[in-house]
Symmetry: C2
Subunit: 374 residues, 2 copies
DNA sequence: GTCTGTTGCTGAAAGGTTTTAGCAGTGGCG
DNA sequence: CGCCACTGCTAAAACCTTTCAGCAACAGAC
């Protein structure tokens, strides 16, 4: 091993070769400091000439404790000289909490679609000095059990359950003292949930096309009867359609085509768009149920020599990676994964528990794929 | 709170409403079992009428210990009845290890591009009964220091450092006893690294087009002088180009166009392709330095009425999401994130440390974007 | 009868922290 | 002086596990 020791952790970043310690700048062992063993409270106490109690009191600055200014100074100095850091295991053992939360999901972390959710979760956890333990179940009950077991054993201070698609999960009953939040999913056993505000988004997307004058030539790609009605598949797709239909009925509009399919990959969108175009329906505006469907639809349009938005306008949902890669870029209602992650972690960490369903706005990203008629 | 307690963790999954515990099926409190407090070794010992020592010995089945078959049975039964699970904090305190490893990266977890790396890491960690603590630095030295501090404090058994692009990191000197592996990056302080086998991939991609007869009309989109020479930007892009150039010079081929740009987003590919086409160079084959560049290039081709692969063939690198969405799907050398993650975790967890650089093959995904001439 | 070895089991220490209870000393008040 | 309150500090217990050292009982060998 070519690793060397210089204190506990010595950082040397950047291109400038400056050296830091993780705990302050430039820590070098002081005289009489044993570098091979992590210092303990007892070591600090000995060096400061005081008791462990005193050191613990000062380092955690407990309010009621009245130690002389001199003692406080000596303790801080000794801790700094020894580069003391508390032992997390000992502290957890004593305190029963760990400063760590768990995140368990089906496959949020291991697929590309909702990465931003982790960003939100990690950011807030970090702001609150919490670490995050991650486990993915791949939807296997056994993996879920294992993950939960692991987290409960480690005495995580709370649990966030996530899912790739917003659906009803049958999560276990948790120990009463365990705080928990679901994000992009719901479970009867977890009282607080964070979900995207899909009804509103459905309404906004439909309005975008209606307001641009596409009421007479509107098609819907990706109507999904199962997802709309089975909460184990989705609890939000139904709401998304409710929003769409509310906008349509307010405007007295009936779509010229509605294509049913449950899985929303580009090739499904391609096939559906092709079918609609071949049917001869007078389509000028397309509501695609996600960006991948929209992407596929655009491919079908291009093949027939139709242009977006000149010939056909498209609006969609998710704000996936490809939405901004398309030419023109896609007008779409963003799934606010990052904000949902943030909010979930905040709800978990805030002492006041606001149980219930927390809806996070899905902002409409207005880009070039919708053209106003006339 | 609507959470209720039935043992420590009770699972009720699936649509069938079957009930499990995390530790076995259907755990219900036995008589004389206090459900409000997690049982300890002492509780098990008391119930089995034996000492804590005996229980510990049996439950960890230590080889040398000779307890009667009856005692062993009684202990197992008591543990099962109480639904005993060892306290991880106490164990860590005693043992100095935690069964947890840390993963620290710039932004692997929080962006979509390398999610598969986490999948590989988590899978192997899980197979070895290890948990994973995750932290992202966003490339801020302070965040790195904080993450490291946290992990070292928690006494993780090892650390994996990851990066989104394979580059040289200036990681801190770690405590001597801390095992560490870098994945998709290298650091002078960490002796074992996992990287994609880019030279080979560059060669294979170039050969794909050369073998298809595009030697006379080859263009390269995304030549990146800085990335090729500055290891802080990339340690592998240079190798990728070495592979490409080796194939070209073996075939005695000089490209008809080479477009330089360092950032490989779709719009860069679009601009570059447009420029090459407008220059009138007789292009029949495009080597794009990643899939997003290829995607943009195809947009430019389409706009000029050129078709892939009929008019122009494309081969590329990464096997990004969009590679399989394109029509035709893209022939591309896959960045093997998942396999790299797996291998990194295996190297970390295996007791025998194989220091050095471990190259993981980048398999060529042959799809429809390359047409054979004549 | 003594010695040796084995079997089956246990007491107690150690690991590092937090916290309760309390000690010794000092000063003020009646 | 007697009492009280306060200041500045500490001993020891508790959190739960693993493991070292060793005890009691018994069998077999001499």
């Amino acid at each position: 091993m070519s690793l060397s020791v210089s204190g506990w952790v010595t950082l040397a970043h950047g291109c400038h070769g400056r050296r830091h310690t993780a705990y302050g700048l430039l820590w070098r062992p002081h005289e009489g400091v044993d570098v091979t063993k992590r210092p303990t409270l007892a070591d600090v106490a000995a060096r400061a000439g005081l008791s462990k109690t005193a050191v613990s009191l000062v380092l955690n600055d407990r309010p009621g404790s009245r130690l002389s200014a001199d003692a406080v100074a000596r303790i801080h100095e000794a801790a700094r000289e020894l580069n003391y850091r508390p032992n997390a295991a000992a502290r957890s053992l004593r305190l029963g909490r760990t400063g760590t939360v768990g995140f368990i999901s089906d496959e949020v972390t291991i697929t590309r679609f909702a990465s931003a959710m982790i960003r939100g979760l990690l950011d807030v956890a970090d702001e609150n000095e919490n670490g995050v333990l991650i486990a993915e179940t791949g939807n296997h009950p056994k993996q879920l059990a294992k993950a939960l077991e692991f987290m409960v054993d480690r005495q995580v201070d709370g649990l966030v359950f996530g899912a790739l698609t917003a659906r009803l999960l049958e999560l276990p009953t948790l120990p009463e003292s365990m705080r928990a939040v679901t994000v992009n999913c719901v479970s009867p056993t977890v009282p607080t949930a964070v979900l995207p505000s899909e009804e509103e988004a459905g309404y906004a997307v439909a309005r975008q096309l209606l307001d641009a004058g596409h009421g007479a030539g509107l098609a819907i790609l990706g109507n999904a009867p199962v997802a709309q009605s089975d909460p184990h598949v989705s609890v939000t797709i139904g709401r998304r359609f409710n929003g769409i239909h509310r906008a349509l009925s307010e405007a007295g509009v009936t779509p010229v085509a509605v294509e049913d399919f449950e899985f929303w990959e580009p090739w499904h969108g391609y096939d559906a768009a092709k079918k609609v175009l071949e049917s001869g329906a007078p389509v000028t505006g397309l509501i695609c149920l996600n960006d991948r469907v929209a992407f596929g639809a655009q491919q079908a349009l291009t093949e027939r020599g139709l242009r977006v938005p000149d010939d056909v306008s498209i609006a969609s949902f998710d704000d996936d990676e490809i939405a901004s890669y398309m030419r023109p870029a896609l007008t779409t209602a963003r799934l606010p994964y990052e904000e949902m992650g943030r909010q979930a972690m905040e709800l978990l960490l805030r002492p006041d528990d606001a149980t219930g369903e927390h809806l996070v706005e899905m902002p409409l990203q207005v880009r070039g794929s919708v053209r106003s008629l006339g």
